[in-house]
Symmetry: C2
Subunit: 416 residues, 2 copies
């Protein structure tokens, strides 16, 4: 992609109407723009990051037997009435709308109800189970206050997987598998070492749910971390008897602020009972299906990466999430030799399937191009200039040293 | 994918609450399910078809300089007030919702307003133009009556591209390019020969807009087609003077019913004037940006393929859209040799990156498996049974003859 043509260039100043490091950097670097408080446009660079994150999650969900599908944003109110969650007094962050007939429709806040209803039409025998549907779908939540750019929003893309199991044992086995899949996702995104499996409230469903909390100052949650055992406890359930029950000791725990990047939730039979999701077991007995839910908010995860990976000059994307692998900068664009060389390298990189953003701007100083490259945060910066002559300068975003290479060396480095 | 595990199996009977061939086939074959009238769940098979169509469109939009991004569903009402389209009296199919503060938010009916507003913040000089942003994003339209399954719905995925050009000439050149890109999309989906570039009303924007109309009995539009010139005229502008203006003759035209699978629309300066989207030209003069919009509804396109490609036993997908390339059926699953052979072939197909749906059900008759394969409509049916012995039977969905092959022949056929 030629940077001269891109929709969403860097801004000279951080935005004044955004709080928090990730919101400021993502807006200033040209990844996102605010439509209303809590709803953000994904500019081309931002959408590329989001799609990279989505693909990593998809691969890990498929690897544990997930089946991708897509439910709707407009939902059937009757299904929600059956579980008692349609009322604004029970759920306080609904967005609702209306058909011409006056029927009030809920906008997808989550998808337990419609999915359980759907699956109940498909399951009758033990042979039909277990099932692990998942989707990437927009959620709408009428938060009183949106906050921190992509961290707390009113509209966001979520990956939600649901498990439908025959027995508690089958549920527990899958729950453990999902936990491992989540850990792989954090590792692939470079936050494995600072993301903790965290015991949190199970609400009305079970004693605990489990969050994955990434330690960063920008977090709005407080957790107590045992760094040796690599588990944590959310402040909301931080009580002596629970610490003891989990085999932890107060003196081993440190207080940290963290962002919840994912959560997994044993739902028990709450939804399956309310919506008649039953099956006939091998002995001919009717049983209730046991459910779990497994969520990741993609925008929040993207913002968390920025909160964790940045320096005073901009974002430092992990390679797995970066919008491009290489950021090619041509200086001295008024020198035809240099310009030709940059154009040729751009073509060669594309031909070798190396994702490259090419800063081909003619009316921009070297200083501005370098500053923009640091702000945007692509892993490898490549410079072609009169100074580099026949050679090419390469610098990693997170290192200070530059290397001088020729084109063949550069291409072979990227293909490894 | 093992069919025994799939979410969304075939139904024994066509659904009673769906009208139209495509709705009946897509529901019965396990591609979609109705959530409410006009909003459909994409089951795993359906989502695969939708993603194939999406990828074809994406490739053709990228090829003409399109930049993919993603706007929001919740929109800023202030932007719509500036163009005068926020009122329910001006636009009669709004869905709206409300923030806790009481502010009424529109749900994306289309994206001209927010996108023009966004681009106006990014464009100041002629050097910033032209721009061709596009997205795949959900549209919400409060239709009085939903109809025909995916043909007329209240919530649907749309590809919408917008052009922002400096001059009428630049606009016209891109409009022609977009037209050709659309024609490539129809060709790649196998409906090129029955899809006509159709003159339709330009509404308040210009004399004509242009639709792409696919001839099928299920269509709700009437068009007059000149098959030699490969153009058509929508009934809404079918008048003698217009026929003459277009260089057509009444006697060359045949009346047909058709489905509008895409439309392209010269928007002129309506939105750019209302939202102050201007630029300074090379002579230092301020000019207004000229816009166009280019839409394709993906679900409707999917339904159109089914309307066009089916027979009395089910769907016949074009290969480019099919959820899988091959449908592997194992009969005589109680014979361990046969079962092992089928499992091995399934593994070999997957290893060779051939997308395969494997009907591994044990309690299902040969007749049921064949009927389901015809209903689902995957291009190649592969059978392993006692009858085929060491060999494999291959049949194309749209042909009657079967071929007998060995595994190597089969794999090499698919890899070509």
């Amino acid at each position: 992609m030629r940077y001269s043509k891109i929709i969403g260039k860097t801004l000279k100043q951080p935005p004044k109407d955004e709080e928090g490091k990730s919101a400021q950097l993502l807006v200033q670097a040209g990844y996102i723009r605010k439509e209303i408080a809590g709803a953000y446009i994904m500019l081309p660079l931002g959408l590329r990051v989001l799609k990279n994150i989505e693909q990593i999650i998809r691969e890990e969900m498929n690897a544990i037997g997930g089946q991708e599908m897509q439910l709707t944003a407009l939902q059937n109110p009757e299904t929600w009435k059956k579980t008692g969650r349609f009322s604004d007094e029970v759920v306080d962050n609904w967005f609702k709308t209306e058909l011409k007939t006056g029927t009030v429709l809920p906008l997808a806040l989550t998808h337990e109800e419609p999915l359980t209803q759907l699956i109940s039409k498909m399951v009758s025998s033990y042979k039909d189970l277990p099932l692990y549907p998942y989707q990437f779908q927009t959620k709408f939540r009428n938060e009183l206050r949106a906050r921190g750019g992509l961290l707390r929003v009113r509209e966001f893309l979520m990956k939600d997987l649901y498990s439908f199991s025959k027995t508690q044992e089958e549920h527990d086995m899958f729950y453990e598998k999902a936990k491992k899949a989540y850990e792989k996702i954090w590792e692939r995104l470079g936050i494995g070492d600072i993301t903790y499996y965290t015991f949190a409230s199970g609400e009305s469903f079970s004693k605990f749910s489990h969050e994955f909390q990434t330690i960063t100052e920008a977090g709005e949650d407080t957790i107590y971390v045992d760094k040796n055992k690599k588990i944590a406890v959310n402040k909301e359930v931080y009580q002596n008897e629970i610490i003891k029950e989990l085999g932890l000791k107060n003196e081993d725990l440190t207080e940290e602020t963290a962002i919840e990047v994912g959560n997994i939730f044993p739902l028990g039979t709450k939804f399956s009972k309310a919506l008649n999701l039953n099956y006939i077991d091998q002995n001919g007995q009717q049983q209730v299906v046991i459910m779990g839910s497994y969520g990741i908010g993609l925008g929040r995860l993207m913002a968390t990466l920025v909160e964790v990976f940045n320096d005073e000059t901009g974002i430092i994307w992990p390679e797995s999430a970066a919008p491009y692998k290489a950021h090619l900068i041509s200086l001295n664009t008024d020198n035809k030799n240099i310009l030709d060389k940059a154009e040729k390298l751009y073509a060669a990189l594309k031909e070798n399937n190396i994702q490259v953003l090419y800063d081909d701007r003619e009316d921009t100083t070297a200083g501005e191009k370098f500053a923009d490259a640091d702000l945007i945060g692509i892993p490898y910066r490549i410079v072609i200039s009169e100074k580099t002559g026949e050679k090419i300068e390469l610098k990693k975003r997170n290192q200070k040293e530059t290397k001088i290479l020729d084109e063949d060396e550069l291409l072979s480095m990227f293909s490894n």
